[in-house]
């Protein structure tokens, strides 16, 4: 226990911005979100924290790696009032990765239909946006919007964690504006 505490104190808190500066060439998304802006958006749109359900509809698993990175101490998504939930019934927003495969299309629709309003959908990555390199024929049905309605897209292969966060924000802002 002592070793664990000592390590925690030694590392301290990973500050989002200073860590980014440490490794200079990290590109900042134009829609870079600050903690406070994001929290304000969530309050305005939902009046509470945001719950997200993730469905991998056929990705190469690259997008999952970057979505997982959102939970690391640098992006600290939970700390900003966004958390991933296990059930679509608890979710406000659905993050979908991959070209939608034939074998996953029904599971994706089922998951989406199980969500309460506003049931926002964000298509993540080039494949989710256009089908990507896998195309839109044969076993790959392609873009997410061919299967369920999409509120926001984020391109990239895979998109950076900060870009995924920006897309989540833009989907939530859509609700606030409606």
């Amino acid at each position: 226990m002592w070793q664990i505490l000592r390590q925690a104190v030694r590392i301290g808190i990973c500050p989002k911005s200073s860590a980014r500066e440490e490794s200079e060439p990290v590109l900042m998304s134009p829609a870079e979100v600050s903690d406070r802006q994001l929290q304000a958006d969530l309050r305005a749109a939902l009046g509470r924290a945001l719950s997200i359900r993730v469905v991998d509809a056929g990705s190469c698993n690259g997008c999952e790696l970057e979505i997982n990175a959102l939970s690391n101490p640098f992006y600290n998504m939970e700390g900003e009032g966004i958390h991933f939930v296990a059930s679509p019934r608890h979710a406000d927003l659905l993050l979908v990765t991959g070209p939608v495969t034939h074998n996953m299309a029904q599971a994706l629709v089922d998951t989406w239909q199980a969500m309460p309003a506003p049931a926002l959908v964000v298509a993540v990555g080039d494949c989710g946006c256009t089908g990507g390199i896998f195309g839109e024929e044969g076993a790959s049905r392609g873009r997410v919007s061919a299967v369920i309605p999409v509120d926001a897209h984020v391109s990239g292969c895979p998109p950076r964690p900060s870009a995924i966060l920006a897309a989540i924000r833009s989907a939530v802002q859509g609700v606030a504006g409606a």
Binding site: Q7, C60, N103, M104, I133, F134, A139
Partner: protein, 536 residues
């Protein structure tokens, strides 16, 4: 094209470094059966044979009996797939690993009956590959027991979710019930269905139903230009993008008969080891988290993020996608970055050692890790396990160690091995390999040979086959490729990417037997197999 009785097409590749005097018994046998077969130089010497049905079965029997008779035998089936040749005639293809290289056997099939001799009795995990071959091309293994569909769930595109009517093997008896999980899981993970048969908390049987991510990658290859298809190879399994892209490029370079510039091989190796480090960092955190120590996830995910940002600084891509390209690598390494890489490796090693000491001394964590999800060495051999999980169960195979082409021969890669076979062993192997990879990265960066990092690839006229095999972080990744070049038009006749997850998914089903249901996420994570790489 008539099935010939011994036509062999040796393939070319990089620098020949292997010892040809120590041929394994099956290699000798095959050499007798195919007298014209000669291995030629290559990072991995490869024999390419077109076989008759009898020769197909003979090669399988010789290799599987050698694997069964000699515990130290490296003979193994690596990949099995179906395809069509340039004239559209069906082919079954198998690639075996032998002591002195690879053996690629093509079996032309009768276009009417579309049948080939079964390999699943000789090689346990071949059963699922054969089911996949039938799903994708209608080729049937004669005499195979299990003929259930595998990758294609429903022929009708609008059919309902098919997991409900898949004929799982049922376990019956007093108090036995089933738990169905997936395809959509609770966490941020890939889709797949798991059917547990349990009695109380104890798992009696697990059967996986995969294929949800099937995108038709083999078919997609044939629609793409051979040079551009490297991008697709890098997306077979995103967490192994360097390994898959390298294997594809190795196959293409072998088909084109070009030798890779030494510096390019070293730069690829640098990225392959960076990829191994990134994945092991992620897994070590997730494993502690699944055992209830969230501290481990916080600290390892921090280290992984720092590592990805370093990759970003070097390659402008956090996962290094599209950096391995046919003919070399996309960007050279600037000499000014070398000290920074060395520094990053040393400080990372220090951080990892500190966390390892905490893991080792944490009684709760060790209690969950030790004796959980055990696969004995004997069982691992029977199952044909590979890669990291195989090494954790005493199977000492690693392409970087066993067939050291460039740059591995100059680096003497340490083989990390354990015979415990439990979650603790798979954790320990990750720690050992992580530290070894950090050593390798520093050594590679400081000893990079001079010269060009990329040589434009000119594809020669005609038909050419090539194979590539790379020890990715999960195990051996293999690509088998045939290209056709006519005038200024080139196309992929057939291409197959094999991920080592094929071998190890069935092993996971054995590892869980007798364990309790709550340990499944932990055992599953300790294997961390690719769904995408398997489902293709």
């Amino acid at each position: 094209m008539e099935p010939s009785t011994g036509d062999s097409r040796p393939m070319q590749g990089g620098a020949p470094t292997h010892d040809r005097t120590s041929a394994s018994p099956p290699a000798l046998l095959i050499r007798q059966a195919f007298p014209s077969a000669r291995p030629m130089g290559g990072e991995l010497a490869t024999y390419h044979l077109t076989a008759t049905q009898a020769q197909w079965s003979m090669a399988a029997a010789a290799i599987s009996s050698d694997a069964g008779n000699r515990p130290e035998s490296p003979s193994r089936l690596i990949a099995l797939w179906g395809a069509s040749d340039a004239d559209g005639r069906p082919l079954a293809s198998a690639v075996y690993g032998l002591a002195d290289g690879l053996l690629w056997v093509d079996l032309p099939l009768d276009p009417q009956s579309r049948q080939y001799p079964d390999l699943s009795r000789a090689f346990f995990f071949a059963g699922r590959m054969q089911r996949a071959i039938f799903d994708l091309g209608g080729l049937r293994a004669i005499g195979a027991d299990d003929v259930r569909p595998w990758l294609v769930h429903a022929r009708d595109a609008d059919a309902r979710s098919p997991a409900t009517d898949y004929p799982f093997v049922r376990v019956s008896g007093a108090g036995v019930h089933e738990i169905a999980v997936g395809p959509v899981h609770a966490g941020i993970i890939e889709p797949g269905h798991f059917r547990f048969s349990v009695s109380g908390e104890k798992v009696l049987r697990l059967e996986a139903r995969l294929g949800y991510k099937h995108k038709g990658i083999d078919a997609r290859y044939t629609q793409l230009d051979p040079i551009l298809a490297g991008r697709l190879a890098g997306r077979v399994s995103g967490d192994s993008t360097v390994a898959h892209a390298w294997a594809y490029c190795m196959a293409l370079e072998s088909a084109a008969g070009i030798e890779l510039p030494p510096r390019a091989a070293w730069l690829r190796a640098l990225m392959l080891e960076r990829e191994r480090v990134a994945n092991h960092l992620g897994d070590l955190g997730a494993l502690a988290n699944d055992a209830g120590l969230a501290f481990g996830l916080a600290h390892f995910s921090r280290l992984r993020e720092l590592w990805l940002r370093e990759s970003d600084a070097l390659y402008a891509h956090r996962l290094m996608m599209d950096q391995v390209i046919p003919g070399g690598v996309l960007v050279d390494l600037d000499a000014s970055m070398v000290p920074r890489i060395g520094q990053a490796c040393r400080s990372m090693a220090e951080e990892v050692q500190r966390l390892r000491a905490i893991y080792d001394e944490h009684p709760g964590l060790q209690d969950r890790f030790r004796g959980t999800g055990t696969i004995s060495t004997a069982l691992a051999r029977q199952l044909g396990m590979t890669g990291l999980a195989g090494r954790a169960s005493g199977l000492g195979r690693d392409l970087r160690h066993d067939h050291p082409g460039q740059p591995w021969s100059a680096l003497s890669v340490h083989l990390c091995l354990s015979s415990q076979g439990d979650v603790a062993a798979r954790v320990a192997i990750r720690f050992d390999e992580l530290l070894e990879s950090l050593r390798l990265i520093e050594a590679i960066a400081s000893r990079l040979p001079p010269g060009t990092h990329h040589r434009a690839l000119r594809l020669p006229q005609g038909h050419h086959c090539g194979a590539g095999a790379v020890e990715g972080w999960r195990g051996e990744v293999l690509v088998g490729l045939e290209i056709e070049v006519k005038g200024d038009r080139s196309r992929i006749v057939r291409c197959h990417s094999h991920d080592p997850s094929w071998q190890n998914w069935p092993a996971l089903e054995h590892a869980i037997i007798g364990n309790i249901v709550p340990d499944f996420p932990l055992i599953n994570k300790s294997f961390n197999l690719s769904y995408a790489g398997h489902d293709l």
